[in-house]
């Protein structure tokens, strides 16, 4: 049986790990390669780096981090943040990323999704969608790390991204991110019940039960979390043991 994946995410700025609460108030806390090695040894199913470096002049730091991580961790690595062109994707893949996540560029120009997936294969392209609830039963897509609102319906956009060749959706709830109050399972379920590609749930994990609910209520194929792992609230193995006890199929 295919296992539900647990994916620790590291926010990387200028080659250093940070994690924001609601995407502001960044706290520096470590070397990404060392962190990645720890997660790898603890039994993470994949790793995710989100590059939040503002200036594209400093992208070389990211490529270096990706390269060193891929040399040390023999599990899949997804890298995203500031990916705007086919050339950006190509550089990340050649640095050692297995999957590249695209966000703002995919919203600005949807053909970028099909162009990227035609060139590198669907399974390499993750479309990261930042969604915020705007009214009852309605979520819109936000871009630029959650700063800019669009009038694009988030659920529709996820479905469209899948049609255009995305291999996976990384769905982040802007309302929940950093709150430790659980995933937005309503939003997740709206997407996972209609879409035919895997969805990674992101934003809001505070307890083990939240992770469980993201799978059973939200319907996620994988769970992404940053702070609970990064600040040591739970270890990956604790999470997996808990989920296994609840009869959720995980890789132990």
């Amino acid at each position: 049986m295919l296992k539900k994946r647990i994916i620790p995410c590291l926010d990387v700025d200028n080659g250093r790990v940070v994690k924001g609460v609601n995407f502001v108030d960044l706290i520096d806390a470590g070397d990404p390669v060392e962190q990645a090695k720890i997660y790898n040894n603890e039994g993470a199913d994949e790793l995710c780096f989100l590059d939040i470096t503002a200036s594209s002049d400093n992208r070389d730091n990211l490529f270096d981090v990706v390269k060193k991580t891929a040399e040390n961790c023999f599990i899949p690595l997804t890298v995203g943040g500031g990916v705007r062109t086919i050339d950006d994707i190509s550089k990340l893949l050649h640095s050692g990323a297995d999957k590249v996540s695209i966000n703002t560029a995919a919203v600005k120009d949807k053909t970028f999704i099909s162009e990227a997936s035609n060139k590198y294969g669907s399974s390499t392209i993750v479309v990261a969608v930042d969604a915020k609830q705007v009214k009852e039963e309605k979520w819109n897509v936000f871009t630029h790390g959650g700063r800019n609102e669009t009038d694009i319906d988030a659920v529709e956009f996820c479905l469209e991204a899948a049609e255009l060749g995305a291999g996976e959706i990384l769905l982040t709830s802007m309302d929940k991110d950093g709150t430790k109050s659980g995933f937005d399972n309503k939003l997740l379920n709206k997407v996972t019940s209609k879409i035919n590609i895997p969805v990674i749930a992101s934003g809001g994990v505070g307890t083990l039960q939240h992770l469980h609910d993201g799978i059973t209520i939200g319907g996620a194929s994988a769970l992404l979390a940053a702070s609970i792992f990064h600040f040591g609230d739970f270890s990956i193995s604790e999470v997996k043991r808990f989920l296994a006890e609840q009869n959720i199929s995980v890789r132990i």
């Binding site: 295919l2 023999f74 050692g96 060139k119 590198y120 390499t124 291999g167 879409i195 895997p198």
Partner: protein, 212 residues
């Protein structure tokens, strides 16, 4: 021994090389792991590895575009029977043909066809993540327990014609060929280079393998 990983522009080349280097170190570091598409390097190789990500047609075309590459592979693998390992699309290419964005001929070294994984509402496509495999007893799977997890990521799978060429399977919306074998030719649908310690163990086994 000299192990040549074929370079035809596949994105995961670096990861494959690093995983082979890691397995090699565990075995004492006596093998030479080289990335190349050069016919003379392949002639000197003791074992040959074909990685692959992306679409079947693109990978096939990229291989055919490299001067003398395919002819050299036939000579070294089919005629001289050097141990070979194909990974993901590198394994699917062994098939007669693939139905993925049109129809493409494969190498035809292991009979069967590559088709889309069966759609089912409960099974998302791509088949992405860790899934357990069941395998037949074979030196390539020595010191590995059955039902161990390996990392898969694919939307198409290899329907192998002759069951004796199926070395391992996994289950998804339908049974999926996880590994194929035919004399010196071995291939895995999963990515050993992304399958943590299980994958490294399998690569160690390949490095030590001498097909009878």
């Amino acid at each position: 021994m000299k192990i040549v990983i074929i370079n035809y522009g596949a994105g995961n080349l670096h990861s494959v090389k690093k995983s082979f280097e890691s397995a090699n170190l565990n075995l004492g570091g006596t093998n030479d792991i080289v990335i190349s598409s050069d016919a003379s390097e392949l002639k000197e190789a003791d074992k040959i590895v074909l990685p692959g990500v992306g679409s079947f047609g693109d990978c096939k075309q990229a291989i055919m575009n490299i001067d003398k590459l395919f002819e050299t592979l036939v000579e070294q693998i089919v005629i001289k029977k050097k141990p070979f390992m194909g990974i993901c699309v590198g394994m699917q290419l062994l098939a007669d043909k693939a139905h993925e964005f049109g129809e493409h001929d494969g190498f035809g070294w292991i009979s069967g066809e590559v088709i889309k994984i069966k759609q089912h509402p409960e099974f998302k496509i791509p088949h992405m993540g860790w899934n357990e495999i069941k395998f037949n007893a074979h030196p390539l799977f020595q010191n590995l327990q059955s039902n161990l997890d390996f990392y898969f990521v694919h939307s198409f799978h290899f329907k192998v014609l002759d069951a004796k060429n199926i070395l391992a399977t996994t289950n998804y919306s339908e049974p999926i060929t996880a590994a194929v074998i035919k004399e010196n030719i071995f291939g895995t649908q999963f990515h050993p280079e992304k399958s943590h310690s299980n994958g490294i163990k399998l690569i160690e086994n390949f490095l030590q393998w001498s097909p009878s």
